[in-house]
């Protein structure tokens, strides 16, 4: 309103000022705060100039080296490697690590409570931190752009290769910042935070090195850009990164949200998204580039399931009843409420999500297999998801009878992968003692990976005992979970009915006030 009245037509500066004021209002508050602090602080400035000086020194060293050797063909490539090397560490290590520390500082400096009780949403907090990191990354990229331009001018380097390297680097840096912030929200005590920082550093350094390796490969052999397999891999990588970033974003938001809020649904939708995206790539690949290569589909379905498994373990061990706030958000329509069931919080509903994603996968994979007459894909997919169901559902189902505390739930979450490990490795130890050679080689019916491998080869004779055990596992899982699944469905229906009743009461109330005579 006020800005409108300010900007008379033809009054350019006022219009611009009003536009800037509006843009300023839209800015993420955290971003504004972080940039102000970073500009005044010494940490970023010093690090920034240090990297620029280091890159210059390395670049000059490369030029001198090339002159000494008289090997000028390689000059552009070497210069690129030197400067991109420094840039890579800056944007793939320093910047995400800064994001990690910046989020953690809110707890360490005791400022978090004041943030949380403000009107900022968790997503604004996470995005603000990542944006502030991205601004730093962009400063690095722009500081390094003269180097990259000189690289190109020195010749011998494909502009497309540089473009792809930088483009992917920006995507990776942003994703890493999201991951770093999400990781930072996982622990608030000093010891846990130190462990998380170590973990992050151990993950970031290889990524920086890998990025250098990838960029080097690109500039040294730019022909790879015209390779279809390479294009396919890059496209797949490029589509998975945003999902990983989104997943990290959702974890961060869930960790920062109030405990009564719905902290699960967004993650569940993303777990479904992972399944959908891997299925889409499998379908596209299987019908085009990798026509008839069932290994390709099996690898993608397996990877999608494995990625989502981590999430299923968390979902299936959530507390069963809705929080008070979530209970009020269940859709009022019965059908809608039942359809949304797998994506609503609660352990049993987590199992429903797993089953739903399994059905979806079978629905996509089934026709594909029919297309090529390759039934091993279907058998594999079915067995894979039944294993997933047993691995997640059996321990969490049993635990649901007596585990009530957060600590207990964390213990179950840790126990599930451990139990799987035991199922695989205990028989092999037994094999050593009893001198059963196949068991020692991890070829025994309790090892899902071996049974699945047999199924891919359609070797039903070997897979037989494993499948029998699997069937028993499925029956047990169904028994221990029947009650909580029933309760979960009943709860959704009840909350939906309650909401209908509330809405009817509210409508009634407004109706009577409308009918009341006007003053």
């Amino acid at each position: 309103m006020t800005s409108e009245t300010l900007s008379k037509p033809g009054d350019e500066p006022a219009a611009l000022g009003a536009f800037l004021a509006r843009a300023d209002d839209r800015l993420n508050p955290i971003l504004v705060k972080e940039v102000r602090q970073a500009l005044r602080g010494r940490y970023f400035r010093n690090l920034f100039w240090l990297t620029v000086v280091l890159a210059t020194a390395l670049g000059v060293f490369m030029i001198v080296l090339a002159n000494v050797d008289g090997d000028l063909d390689e000059l552009g490539t070497n210069f690129f490697m030197a400067t991109f090397g420094v840039l890579s560490f800056a944007v793939h290590t320093f910047v995400p690590f800064w994001a990690f520390q910046s989020m953690g500082a809110e707890w360490e400096e005791n400022t978090f409570d004041l943030l949380v009780i403000s009107d900022l949403r968790p997503k604004q907090l996470v995005v603000g931190k990542v944006l502030a990191a991205t601004v730093q990354a962009l400063l690095y990229y722009s500081a390094f752009s003269p180097f990259l331009v000189s690289t190109f001018l020195m010749g011998g380097v494909d502009i497309l290769a540089i473009g792809l390297a930088i483009g992917l680097s920006i995507l990776v840096s942003t994703t890493l910042s999201f991951l770093a912030v999400a990781l930072s929200t996982l622990g608030r005590t000093k010891i846990v935070r130190a462990a998380l920082a170590m973990l992050l550093a151990c993950a970031l350094l290889p990524v920086s090195a890998g990025a250098i390796g990838f960029a080097t490969m690109l500039v040294q052999a730019p022909n790879v850009l015209r390779d279809r397999d390479f294009q396919y891999a890059v496209a797949m990588f490029g589509s998975v990164l945003p999902i990983v970033a989104l997943f990290a974003f959702a974890i961060g938001c869930a960790r920062l949200a109030h405990e009564e809020e719905n902290r699960s649904s967004a993650l569940r939708v993303l777990a479904s998204a992972i399944t959908v995206v891997t299925l889409a790539w499998a379908a596209v690949g299987y019908t085009t580039f990798f026509r008839g290569e069932e290994q390709f589909v099996i690898a993608l379905v397996g990877a999608g399931c494995a990625l989502a498994m981590v999430a299923y373990v968390f979902f299936a061990t959530e507390p069963e009843p809705f929080g008070r706030r979530v209970a009020r958000q269940v859709p009022s329509s019965r059908t809608l409420a039942l359809c949304s069931l797998p994506w609503l919080p609660g352990g049993a509903r987590g199992l429903a999500l797993l089953i739903g994603n399994a059905l979806l996968t079978l629905l996509v994979v089934g026709p594909l297999a029919l297309l090529e007459g390759d039934e091993s894909i279907v058998v594999f997919t079915l067995a894979l998801y039944l294993y997933a169901l047993v691995v997640v559902g059996l321990p969490s189902g049993i635990a649901s009878y007596f585990v009530r505390t957060l600590r207990g739930r964390t213990a179950v979450r840790v126990a599930i992968p451990l139990l799987l490990g035991l199922a695989i490795f205990l028989p092999s130890i037994a094999g050593m003692l009893l001198d059963v050679h196949a068991w020692m080689e991890l070829e025994h019916p309790l090892d899902p990976f071996w049974v699945l491998a047999c199924l891919v080869d359609l070797n039903l004779a070997d897979a037989g005992p494993g499948l029998a055990l699997l069937a028993i596992g499925v029956v047990l899982t169904a028994i221990v979970n029947a009650k909580r699944v029933g309760n979960a469905v009943a709860e959704v229906l009840r909350c939906s009915a309650e909401r209908r009743a509330r809405e009817a009461a509210a409508a009634q109330a407004t109706h009577t006030t409308d009918a009341a005579p006007q003053r």
Binding site: T2, S3, K33, G41, T111, I117, E260
Partner: protein, 310 residues
């Protein structure tokens, strides 16, 4: 409508019941002192009110909104000043307030105006360009109070705001709190030092070991605890004569020496008290000081918590 209603909240840490079925209300425009020794459960209660902690049982209604059912809306109606909180380094007073104003969704001119207003209210205006890390404790408290007022909440919860302040800063804080009460805000202010609260509160809630021991106006609690008034008399005669004269009067008990006079418990109304004075004069006792009835928060607190303090 009640501004703050605490409904039977309970919070257990491991085996320790930090807050045990605590209920009380604070009306708009009133200033409620929340007193109890260290570890009584004041901070935990306040953090539950501020949506920072979940109660095991019970609920808190802030200006009609449940902190459990709609924490976001409750937060908008509530200003909380924690007992210890950090301030961002490399930030000036204006930037700090501007950041929180943005966080509360204030835009454009309204944001600048609100920041100016709260700075004027807390007399921080002249210091707006000062870095926060260079501020004194009293200044930081005022800054946090200014921040708490940015979104004009109906309820203000201040956890130990006077702790560590010098006497001057304490007086300034008291004036600010009174001004806020006069603006119609409901205030809940905690302290373990009673004299800090005595002059600014309309009522008190006394808590110890997680249990609410008493709640009400200072005078009401006093009367419920001791139906008699405590009086002080000094006269131009020796104490023995004075004591003898007093003990012959009805309604007087527990006479003891204090300063240069005597203190005694008196049961009876003001009329009877006036007659008592008349009779003392008639007996030739010549009183020069005859005072009492002053309710001391300190005394209430001591008599309430006596048993468990040691």
């Amino acid at each position: 409508m009640t501004a703050l209603e605490v409904r039977g909240i309970t919070k257990t840490f491991r085996s320790l019941k930090a807050v045990d079925d605590v209920s009380f209300t604070v009306e708009p425009g009133s200033i409620c002192g929340f007193i109890g020794p260290n570890g009584a459960g004041k901070t935990t209660t306040m953090r539950i009110c501020a949506t920072l902690e979940l109660p095991d049982h019970g609920d808190v209604i802030v200006d009609g909104v449940s902190v459990l059912e709609d924490p976001r809306r409750a937060r908008r109606k509530l200003g909380f000043m924690p007992d210890n909180y950090g301030a961002y380094p490399q930030t000036t007073i204006r930037e700090y307030l501007d950041f929180y104003a943005r966080a509360y969704g204030l835009t454009g001119k309204a944001r600048k105006k609100t920041v100016d207003q709260v700075m004027a209210f807390t007399s921080l205006g002249p210091l707006e360009e000062k870095l926060i890390n260079t501020l004194s404790k009293g200044m930081k408290q005022r800054l946090c109070l200014a921040k708490t007022m940015l979104h004009d909440p109906a309820v203000l919860i201040l956890d130990e705001p006077a702790a560590g302040l010098d006497p001057r800063a304490r007086v300034e804080l008291r004036e600010l709190v009174k001004a806020l009460g006069a603006m119609g805000k409901a205030l809940l202010i905690s302290s373990h030092i009673l004299t800090e609260l005595a002059e600014m509160c309309d009522g008190v809630a006394v808590i110890e070991s997680g249990k609410l021991l008493a709640r009400g106006r200072v005078g009401e609690i006093q009367r419920s605890l001791q139906p008699h008034a405590t009086m002080y008399v000094r006269a131009l005669c020796d104490l023995a004569t004075l004591e003898k004269a007093l003990l012959e009067e009805p309604g007087i008990a527990n006479v003891r020496g204090e300063r240069q006079g005597l203190v005694f418990d008196y049961t009876g109304d003001d009329e009877a008290l006036a007659r008592l004075l008349e009779r003392l004069v008639a007996r030739g006792v010549k009183p020069v000081e005859f005072a009492g009835g002053e309710v001391k928060l300190e005394d209430i607190f001591m008599s309430l918590t006596q048993g468990t303090l040691q």
